[in-house]
């Protein structure tokens, strides 16, 4: 089944200087563009769309093949053209769509054309909001455009303000589930892995519709083809005035299902080196913490099974086990 995906971008300065004395931020106007996390969001959306279309094509080929004996097993490409499909009683292949949405000024159009060149189906810019509009306001405007999408993918945080709050507000506006801080996505199963506080990770199986935010590091946006770049110059960028970008419908909320939550792995503690003026023994004691008052060890006398349960429980308390 084809899917409708929306990707939220923000125009930011990717190079800037901060005056150490006054805190004044000077942006390099030549560096305006999407944050790395926003680019990763589009890449994930394109991969999901590609996977959905490939699965759709394979499914159609499977349904068409028995009538003429031609199919993937015969080494023929599984793709079926819309015309061929229609002729065999199969609905024309409807490709998945990826719409990139941005709240920003007209200067963002060049950035949106980069998204079109990379493979996005459409681009919409919401005009009329000030640069410092608060996250709930931005999310409200975005919701008016992206509502109805099967999946909304955002960058985890923008390079400028970086509060990482718009995706959460957007999910709330849409009344759909959310998975924030996603690191990887299995585009075939829909299972995502996200980062939790304290270095923990968890895997979620997503329903639809849902809002996810992705980190910028794991994937890079594919390089646009030359033909894509040239074609994108003539593609229109839809412009919606902010005041009229009202929310259309509220989808039924579908919370993600926790598949697995990884163990808590506390970060290593940083120990300052002891003073060089101490004796070797004193330095060893300082490093090891020996002879320092601490919580006394707890001694329990239990049967083996109970003792094992006690140990597991303690490890879980400390966070070493899920």
């Amino acid at each position: 089944m084809s899917v409708a995906l929306a990707v939220c971008w923000k125009l930011v300065a990717r190079r800037f200087e901060v005056d150490a004395l006054t805190g004044t931020v000077t942006v390099d106007r030549h560096s305006l563009g999407p944050s790395p996390a926003d680019e990763a969001a589009l890449e994930w959306a394109l991969r999901i769309a590609d996977a959905a279309d490939a699965a759709d094509a394979a499914d159609r080929a499977h349904r068409v093949a028995p009538s003429d004996g031609v199919g993937p097993a015969d080494g023929v490409s599984p793709s079926v053209s819309p015309v061929e499909g229609a002729g065999r009683g199969v609905a024309p292949l409807e490709r998945s769509t990826v719409t990139v949405v941005c709240v920003g000024p007209a200067a963002a159009d060049a950035m949106l054309r980069e998204a079109l060149a990379s493979g996005a189906s459409a681009a919409v810019r919401i005009d009329g909001l000030p640069d410092d509009a608060p996250s709930p306001v931005v999310a409200h405007q975005l919701a008016g455009v992206v509502d109805g999408s099967h999946l909304v993918v955002c960058g985890n945080a923008s390079l400028d303000r970086g509060s990482a709050s718009v995706p959460a507000f957007l999910a709330a506006e849409l009344g759909v589930g959310q998975a924030l801080g996603v690191v990887t996505i299995d585009v075939t199963t829909g299972v995502v892995e996200r980062r939790l506080d304290g270095g923990r990770r968890e895997r979620l199986r997503l329903g639809s519709p849902v809002v996810i935010s992705v980190e910028g590091g794991p994937v890079r946006l594919r390089r646009a083809s030359l033909a894509g770049v040239l074609a994108a110059r003539d593609q229109p960028v839809g412009v919606v005035v902010a005041a009229s970008a009202a929310r259309l419908t509220v989808s039924e909320r579908v919370d993600p299902v926790v598949v697995r939550r990884g163990p808590y792995r506390p970060r290593p503690r940083v120990l300052s080196p002891p003073s060089a003026e101490l004796t070797p023994l004193e330095r060893i004691l300082a490093l090891t913490g020996a002879l320092v008052d601490r919580s006394p060890p707890r001694l329990v006398h239990l049967e083996p099974e109970e003792a094992a349960a006690e140990i597991v429980g303690q490890l879980r308390t400390w966070g070493y086990l899920p």
Partner: protein
């Protein structure tokens, strides 16, 4: 690898001054032109000779000075000779240069190049950034009919794709991939022999400090070219003012740099520490450090400028004038770019893009205007300027003469200048025969 379905008449590779000027000329003639730029925006590498002389723009952008994004208009122009402990400066100032039509200006390349590329775009050029042209595409006859780019081709899955046009203009800098691929360049060692490395720091200072140190007001600017400041490496130095930064750097002959075992940044640090330079740069915060190769071979080292379906302009064609008192590149790039664009238009309209006929007018155009005329007149200067005598002996000789002239040795009586010069020449081991020959070269070149 497949060709794009919508070919252009002309592809210009490189959106620097030469490329944008070429694209502007082609677009204004009504032809379709693609302007490929490897950086994320035109001018993303902020390196150039120090001063942009805009007179070449008079014919194509009237009153360009009203809109050009400059930093400062040069009103103070200096040539310095340094030895480790001495300096001699010819410092000239003209307020005539402080108003229209001006003479030269300092600018930041991200601003200037973006402005000129925008002119080309406004005329109809299609600017494609972040795209490297890595090779040429030839037809069966060997004629260049396009370029290979580093953008993928989704139709074939290849990591490169081709873009076709009837003429390609290579303006992709001193190390031009396109000119190399077309076989227009000499071997690497020969090219290195006539190439220098420029390294530059941009130092931030309060605008008032710059104006006090350089004795400037408003948008006035200063530019100093320096010789004798590069340790044992042939080369030179430069120092010029931007609005709230100054640019200081050295230019180093590549073979000399390799033989000396000095690091470029070490030589630049020595230049900045010289007693005559240090007060100008004191307290400056480094906001940029960059390096760039410069073609300084002059007229005799200019490569073949045209192949079948191909023209070469700007630094790619070695069109940079490094002639001591004159250090110019941007104006030669623009001049050659405009000529290349006009030649391409004529060739396409005539239906002949061969080097022997349709594109043969390019060199004639350049010979007829300042681009090759200046290079030809000063053809002997680059070799002389990078010689040991010009780099080490003459600066020492000159400074010694002036020092002796101004040193009061009472009760001994003053000596005549000729006698001082003779003594200094002997001390500097300058032979009269060399002095006479170099003097004759200077008269023929600069006279």
């Amino acid at each position: 690898m497949t060709a794009a379905p919508d070919p252009f008449d002309v592809i210009v590779v490189g959106a620097g001054p030469a490329g944008s000027a070429a694209a502007l000329a082609v677009a204004r003639a009504g032809l379709r032109v693609a302007l490929l730029e490897r950086g994320p925006f035109p001018g993303s590498k902020n390196m150039y000779g120090g001063v942009i002389y805009g007179r070449v723009l008079d014919q194509v952008i009237p009153n360009w000075w009203d809109e050009i994004p400059i930093q400062r208009w040069i009103t103070r122009r200096g040539t310095m000779i340094l030895t480790p402990t001495q300096s001699l400066c010819l410092d000239f100032r003209s307020q005539t240069w402080a108003g229209p039509p001006y003479n030269g200006a300092t600018a930041l390349r991200p601003d200037f190049d973006a402005w000129l590329a925008a002119k080309a775009e406004a005329a109809g050029s299609v600017l494609v950034t972040s795209t490297v042209a890595t090779d040429v595409v030839r037809d069966p006859s060997g004629r260049v009919v396009g370029v290979v780019t580093d953008r993928p081709d989704p139709a074939t899955g290849a990591s490169t794709s081709a873009l076709r046009a009837r003429v390609v203009i290579a303006c992709d800098g001193v190390n031009s991939f396109i000119a190399k691929a077309a076989g227009l360049y000499p071997g690497a060692s020969e090219q290195a022999e006539h190439t220098t490395l420029g390294v530059k720091e941009v130092l931030r200072l309060p605008r008032e400090s710059i104006e006090q140190r350089f004795n400037l007001t408003g948008r006035e600017g200063a530019d100093f070219e320096v010789v004798g400041c590069t340790m044992d490496v042939p080369g030179g130095g430069f120092l010029y003012t931007n609005l709230d930064t100054i640019s200081v750097g050295v230019v180093l002959h590549l073979p000399g740099l390799a033989a000396s075992k000095h690091r470029p940044e070490e030589i630049l640090a020595g230049f900045k520490a010289h007693p005559s330079i240090a007060p100008f740069v004191a307290g400056g915060e480094i906001v940029e450090y960059s390096a760039h190769l410069i073609p300084e071979g002059g007229y005799d080292q200019i490569p073949t400028l045209a192949g079948d379906g191909l023209l070469v302009a700007g630094d790619a064609a070695g069109l940079c004038l490094a002639a001591g008192v004159w250090l110019e590149g941007v104006n030669f790039a623009i001049g050659s770019g405009l000529a290349a664009g006009a030649t391409a238009v004529e060739a396409i309209r005539s239906g002949d893009t061969t080097a022997a006929r349709g594109l043969a007018g390019y060199r004639a155009r350049l010979e007829a205007n300042f681009v090759l005329a200046d290079h030809k007149k000063l053809r002997r200067v680059p070799e002389f300027l990078l010689s040991g005598r010009a780099q080490f002996q003459y600066p020492q000789l000159t400074c010694d003469v002036v020092e002796d002239l101004f040193t009061v040795r009472n009760p001994a009586p003053k000596q005549g200048i000729a006698r001082l010069a003779w003594k200094s020449a002997r001390r500097s081991r300058v032979r009269l025969r060399d002095l006479a020959r170099d003097g004759w070269t200077a008269i023929r070149s600069y006279g």
